[in-house]
Symmetry: C2
Subunit: 315 residues, 2 copies
């Protein structure tokens, strides 16, 4: 019978790419990971890895094994969830990850509701960029996390994760008040200075991608990860910025918001199998309840998946 701990290392290797990274994620030394993977390979009787330059790559057999591993891990997660359900009362800790603007807006009401309904729950919030969410969930540094799904920058679904939709918002181009609106605002901003997120964040990627679709490279003048800061810069005539609806409840004076075709969909993600974990389910439900009260015009027509309970789709 294959050892699940070793399979987990192989699975993480598939995602992280190097043994060193896997070791770091598990707080092991690379040596330990190397030994365990060698042992796994020995008992598998098939080559699972092969050196590719100075790193290692999975063989087809290794990749196939990883796919099976995802199933095993999801089943174990589900087992854990029913155990948590059997434990009297909702307790334990839930680590929630979210992007900055959600931490400011969406999360506080949800946390208040959760703390009221389940006092034994230890809620821990971590602010992080959506691009880091999948790895954080997989490595069990988080249990629940919010991420985005821009239609312009599609994220491929992660086999280890599930998610349910939360919000569907309009994205605006924030320009200085005096600006004339163009037919296509993005096209109109071809020669403008841009205020974007720092490189490596999703915001940064979305802005660049939107301009790329319009056929140009944006002139980046400022970098601001905080939308309030970005809007202040826009109001100061420093340039234009992409802002989602959630960030602009009350736009500062001196800013004009031009609605774009881009939509930002926010989802709650968790490890596959964890949907039935009562604490995770409570968090997801609380987030849904909070999101319903938010301005995000989440159109009923698209709501094919019922917020809680229904079968979640891959994140």
């Amino acid at each position: 019978m294959l050892d699940v701990r070793r399979l987990r290392l192989l699975r993480d290797l598939a995602h992280l790419g190097t043994i060193a990274a896997v070791a770091e994620a598990h707080t092991y030394t690379p040596s330990a990971v190397s030994q365990q993977l060698a042992a796994l390979q020995r008992e598998a009787g098939v080559r699972l890895l092969e050196r590719a330059g100075r790193r290692v790559a999975l063989t087809p057999a290794g990749a196939a094994l990883v796919r099976h591993t995802e199933v095993v891990l999801a089943a174990l997660e589900a087992a854990d969830a029913t155990l948590a359900g059997a434990r009297a009362g909702l307790s334990g800790s839930v680590r929630i990850g979210a992007f900055p603007s959600a931490v400011r807006t969406l999360l506080p009401p949800a946390l208040v509701a959760l703390a009221r309904d389940h006092p034994a729950l230890d809620l821990m919030v971590t602010e992080l960029d959506p691009v880091d969410v999948p790895a954080a969930l997989r490595d069990r540094r988080l249990d629940v996390a919010l991420l985005h799904d821009y239609d312009t920058v599609p994220v491929e679904p992660d086999r280890a994760l599930d998610s349910t939709p939360l919000l569907d918002e309009t994205v605006y181009l924030a320009v200085a008040a005096g600006t004339d609106p163009a037919a296509d605002p993005i096209e109109g901003a071809r020669h403008a200075n841009w205020i974007v997120g720092s490189p490596g964040t999703l915001c940064h990627a979305v802005a660049r991608h939107a301009c790329q679709l319009a056929g140009y490279q944006p002139t980046v003048r400022h970098q601001a990860d905080d939308f309030t800061a970005a809007l202040a810069l826009v109001a100061a005539g420093q340039g234009v910025a992409l802002v989602p609806q959630l960030a602009v409840n009350q736009p500062p004076p001196g800013v004009r918001l031009l609605p774009l075709a881009i939509r930002r969909r926010t989802r709650v993600a968790y490890r596959k199998g964890a949907a039935s974990h009562p604490a995770v389910a409570a968090c997801v439900a609380a987030l849904h309840a909070t999101a319903a009260a938010f301005p995000g015009d989440d159109p009923p027509g698209r709501h094919d998946e019922p917020p809680p309970g229904g079968p979640p789709s891959a994140a």
Copy 2:
């Protein structure tokens, strides 16, 4: 993350009933199993077992955990199967279990075909009664096994196993040549001496059950597990016996066979997830091929499940 080795112990406890039996199945001491289950319970945070007299019983939470465990184990078995598929050529050992009459009739041609087509395969045959098959498969003492499914004595499907149908035979009541056939042969044998299998075997249970349905307890005169022996006794006027079609290709003189409504369905069983194991699949295919050539009038109308490939049903 729950430890699969411990989950396996819990799963086996659910089937075997006592820690001592689980220990024996794993060639551990009972103490070791007790300690591991205690550890599992500790990390689960829920009572999984409770003393029931001098044994232990699963709590509802424990039973739920066992159900999840079956999924995990099936996924691991499937992983194993794909690895076996990735290993060049068909090799390794397959332990096949079968009831005595199949070992005499059905198995030899299948073994010859398998040895011819896959010389690297180590085939090991074990003769055992169908009642012992599920436990033997679960405990990995066997990989593939034949079992029966009399409609009069229904076996509840085993969550850990899958199976596909092989043969569907008529069961006969063997009586001495001079006997007058009654409308209902079983009813007619109310006052006859019976020749049945030894207690604890499926044959024994089927005979008793058939008589019970007719409203009487059979007078057991002889016990013979071998059908040839039983038929010899019948020919010698020592009593009546139930024999399946497979056992009576050429009935000895002095025996009359009265067809009954009882049917004996033979199935090939294996651990869930092992269906895709190439060696297991080869065995199952070979058995199907052999069975097709046998007199078992397996009616096409009932054959809703295609022999190989189709989704197997629980054993």
